[in-house]
Amino acid sequence: MKKKLSNQELELIERFFDLELGAEELAAFEKRMESDASFHNEVRKYEKAYHLTAILEKEPSTPNFDDMKPHALGGMKPWKWMVGILAILAILTTGYWYANMNDNPADQPVFAEVEQYVDMLSSGVVRGSDNPDSEPTMTPIEKAINQMNDWQQAGTLDSESLTQLLMNEQDVDAREVIQWWIVRTYLESNDIENAKNILNDIAKEPNYNSSNKAKEILSDLE
């Protein structure tokens, strides 16, 4: 006849089925289950008794954990994970695109409006003769626009050089156009505050025809 378990061993098994063994005890228990066939066999017998009485012991108040279907992320099917990941990527991409769109002045409606206005102010200006011996016939506004176009083509157009140009310019029409170019340059580099400062100057200038336009742009930027 096979040897029955001792009370100490029964207590150990009881605690195992009660899920109360610590990590070390559990590791030792598993090891013994693997190496000691007799112990393994007796645990199996005790298991029958345990599960039988566990059913008898069940109280009506016990929640039905068998029906508790996981609803958190951990319980999601793989395809749902994929859909979730793709949705997150789409949101991130859209957000990044939108953020960049707003960061890129070229895509801002205000910038487009200023650009269009500067082009309009600068249009119709004919460059002087390329012949160095010919007499200069350009007006101050033409000279300023030519200078700014040259800088633009050379890639050296910046607010600093434009400001220098403005400081040396006395002609009202030329100053008006230069200031709008400065506004455009600030908006292009997303320097809204300085753009607004220049627009305020334009708006306050009684001799400018574009004062109202500056106020309109300022209001759009607020």
């Binding site: 195992f16 089925f17 899920l19 109360e20 017998k45 059913i55 508790m68 958190a72 319980g75």
Partner: protein, 197 residues
């Protein structure tokens, strides 16, 4: 707020008749903490669900039914319980558990009441041995345990109604007694199963 404080508050309210917070807390812990961890180990949703179910049922019995004092680290304690359950479900690959679970409570009660007509032959054979062990074990229990289990399990009376009848000072005292009786019955059944070999 610490885990223990949250669990304490939830159990306190449940003991006072409002189980909503405890149910919510258990459901949240089950779904967002325990299940994902176990799923990572089992790589099978069904197995993970079984491990979690065994763990939480035992947790419920211990701390709600028996009202044992909560440990300092409740979440850690549950994870340790789940470790045990993981080995029971995955490591032991238990045919015994499957068999007893398959019988379900109603069939066991039918057998206890001497009616196993609805069982299949193979089930009936195994059940007969189990029932004999149960019957012999039950007969060896003390009189007070027999009365308590008879009223609660066979006559399906609640512990609340049994407690005054059997002159227990409190309902909890009756619950504690039932736990001890079940444990004693378990050892007696094991002894009988051992002797059947």
């Amino acid at each position: 707020m610490s885990h223990k404080y949250k669990w304490n508050e939830a159990f306190e309210r449940a003991f006072n008749g409002d189980r909503r917070l405890l149910d919510e807390h258990i459901s949240q812990f089950y779904n967002s903490k325990l299940y994902p961890i176990i799923l990572g180990r089992t790589q099978s949703r069904d197995t993970a669900h079984e491990v979690c179910s065994v763990t939480m049922t035992k947790f419920w019995n211990k701390f709600y039914i028996k009202r044992d004092a909560l440990p300092d680290n409740v979440n850690g304690y549950i994870y340790a319980m789940a470790n045990n359950a993981f080995y029971q479900v995955v490591g032991m690959k238990s045919k015994e558990r499957d068999f007893v679970n398959h019988l379900k409570e109603t069939k066991i009660l039918e057998a206890i009441n001497g009616n196993s007509n609805n069982m299949e032959e193979s089930e009936a054979g195994q059940m007969e041995n189990l029932y004999k062990a149960l019957e012999l074990g039950f007969a060896q229990l003390g009189e007070r345990c027999r009365e308590l289990l008879n009223l609660n399990i066979l006559q399906k009376q609640t512990i609340r109604s049994i407690a005054p009848k059997m002159k227990f000072p409190t309902e909890n005292a009756a619950t504690q007694k039932k736990t001890k009786c079940i444990k004693a019955l378990r050892k007696l059944i094991y002894s009988e199963i051992h002797n059947q070999d």
